[in-house]
């Protein structure tokens, strides 16, 4: 396990030693703040439909933009950089397994990604001062972020394992995650009931709506955990193979 924690600690530290982390943090903070205040203004308008700010926030288009754009930036360097500079050689000749390395890097990415959402808790606290926040519903919403973000990150990790170039890894991650995101719009376009059913169960957009409303469905948990683990497995195997050497 020492391999996992060594990788995790170094990777997390690497985020905060690079300017990229601060650029990402800055823009995410600005966007989150801007969207949230827009939502609050909007809901304060007596003409608009009633809704809870966090529901709107979590299911809004801006939220997905953050998710789709931030994930590739967070994951692109994970393994691609090690391959490019050759430090992978040092890593993979140490007495650690590929699984530990992949897990350590993934958890570091997930931790950094999760940290990006921590400031939004402040909005919740503010809202709680003036109104009422159902903290369990909110927790479900954050669980949704971590699960969906977790899946997207695992896609990014796979891309970073296969691509030596970080930009390629980022573009592939973005494209694949965008496709996954667009699945939500497919049920309206196909008329076969079977496909519709499949798409309903894989629509991240609908899932996020559920989570935001406080619904934690075990099927969703199984879906996200299994797909994420699958991608981590693919990444570990690819690393083991080193066919790309």
């Amino acid at each position: 396990m020492s391999g996992l924690w060594a990788t995790f600690a170094r990777e997390l530290r690497a985020y905060f030693l690079s300017p990229l982390a601060y650029v990402v943090l800055f823009f995410v903070l600005v966007l989150q703040g801007a969207f949230f205040s827009l939502i609050v203004y909007h809901l304060n308008d007596p003409a608009s439909a009633a809704g809870r700010p966090f529901d709107v926030f979590f299911s809004g288009f801006p939220f997905w933009m953050i998710l789709l754009f931030v994930v590739p930036v967070v994951t692109m360097r994970l393994i691609a950089e090690e391959r490019k500079t050759g430090s992978i050689e040092v890593l993979m000749t140490a007495p650690v397994t590929e699984g530990q390395v992949v897990a350590g890097k993934y958890l570091a990415a997930l931790a950094f990604f999760a940290a990006l959402w921590v400031p939004t808790l402040l909005y919740a606290v503010l809202l709680d001062l003036y109104g009422e926040i159902d903290w369990w519903t909110l927790a479900a919403g954050y669980l949704g972020i971590v699960l969906i973000g977790g899946l997207f990150l695992s896609v990014g990790l796979v891309a970073s394992t296969f691509a030596r170039n970080q930009i390629v890894a980022a573009v592939v991650t973005f494209a694949v995650n965008l496709l996954v995101f667009f699945v939500a719009f497919l049920p309206g376009m196909v008329d076969r009931p079977l496909f519709q059913k499949v798409f309903e169960h894989t629509s991240v957009l609908d899932h996020m709506d559920e989570f935001a409303r406080g619904i934690v469905d075990t099927r969703r948990l199984v879906f996200y955990l299994s797909t994420t683990l699958f991608f981590l497995f693919v990444s570990a195997r690819a690393l083991e193979d080193r066919k790309w050497r």
Binding site: A14, G86, S87, V90
Partner: protein, 375 residues
Amino acid sequence: MIEAHELSRRYGPFTAVDRVSFAVEEGEIVGILGPNGAGKTTTIRMITGFLPPTGGRVTVFGKDLFAEPRKARRDIGYLPESVTLYPEMRVREYLAYRARLQGMSRAEAREAIFETMDRTLVADVEGQIIGTLSKGYRQRVGLAAAILHRPRVLVLDEPTVGLDPKQIVAIRELIRTLGKKRTLLLSTHILPEVELLCDRVLIIDRGRIVAQGTPAELHATFLGRHHLVVEVRPDGGTGAPHDPVAGIAAVLAALPGVEAVEPLDGGPVAAEPVAAAPAVAEPAASEPVRPPSEVVRRSGRFRLSVAEGADPREAVFRAAVERGWVLLGMAEERGSLEEVFVQLTTRDETVPAAGEPAAAAEASEAAETEEEIPS
């Protein structure tokens, strides 16, 4: 100790390493020598467990490197060719990371880091960001990281490449001290380095071991005799007519212990053309240019092939005195490992054989660039 059995690695149709077998005994320093693209780095990568071989196996102190990688890797310290440190980390941070990667406890790591930093002379930069260090320091940090967990086998891929002469000397010194207690495998294409550091040499060319042995053995096998280069001025310094080149050669060849004589740069030229010199210099040319044939050369050099075990130097001196020549110089020319190396590895470049078109050489070059990591 580390053993390679029939180790092979293919990249598609290209065979980078072809059934290479060797063993490095405990306490031995072995050098892997070969031109670029010969398969050195590929071999090293398989020996360290980074690259799975397509055939054969590697054992480290009896443990199979690919069957029980975590146990076997613990005994290996590895410094890759492109010393790859994380440039954004500080030296001590980095060493701490490498120690954790090796599964060392915090206390163990701290002690090992201090000790290693002292040994590799990086203690004075422990707080510096690696990206700001000079290449020599980075190399030493890389070495420090490689020996941190006290491995019994140390594998260094081109440890002095890209360093300035002073740094090279320092790193070699360090390698020598590190090699005293360890099994050390070193790849390089710098020949003096091998002669300086290694107990034994493996010469690899196009994925195969073409020769192995101690530097002395390789000399004996591939070069045999040595040479003596003699420079004489046959006119005795007087400008008088003297023995012709052939005559001098004959005298030298007759000496005991000399097997053959070869005049170098044509030998001394007879003294007549000197008189022609002022005539050429007439049109105010600051430097009269003479065709090379007219250059007056009063001394000449001869290369004598010396018979095994003979030493004809005294005889050469006596012969010179006897004939009235001035002996200007005498130098022994011992074949260097360089010559062995060139002899063994340059066939295809000098003589492009029909079966090995230039495309093959290009292919192997391409493979080398493929496996090299841009730094």
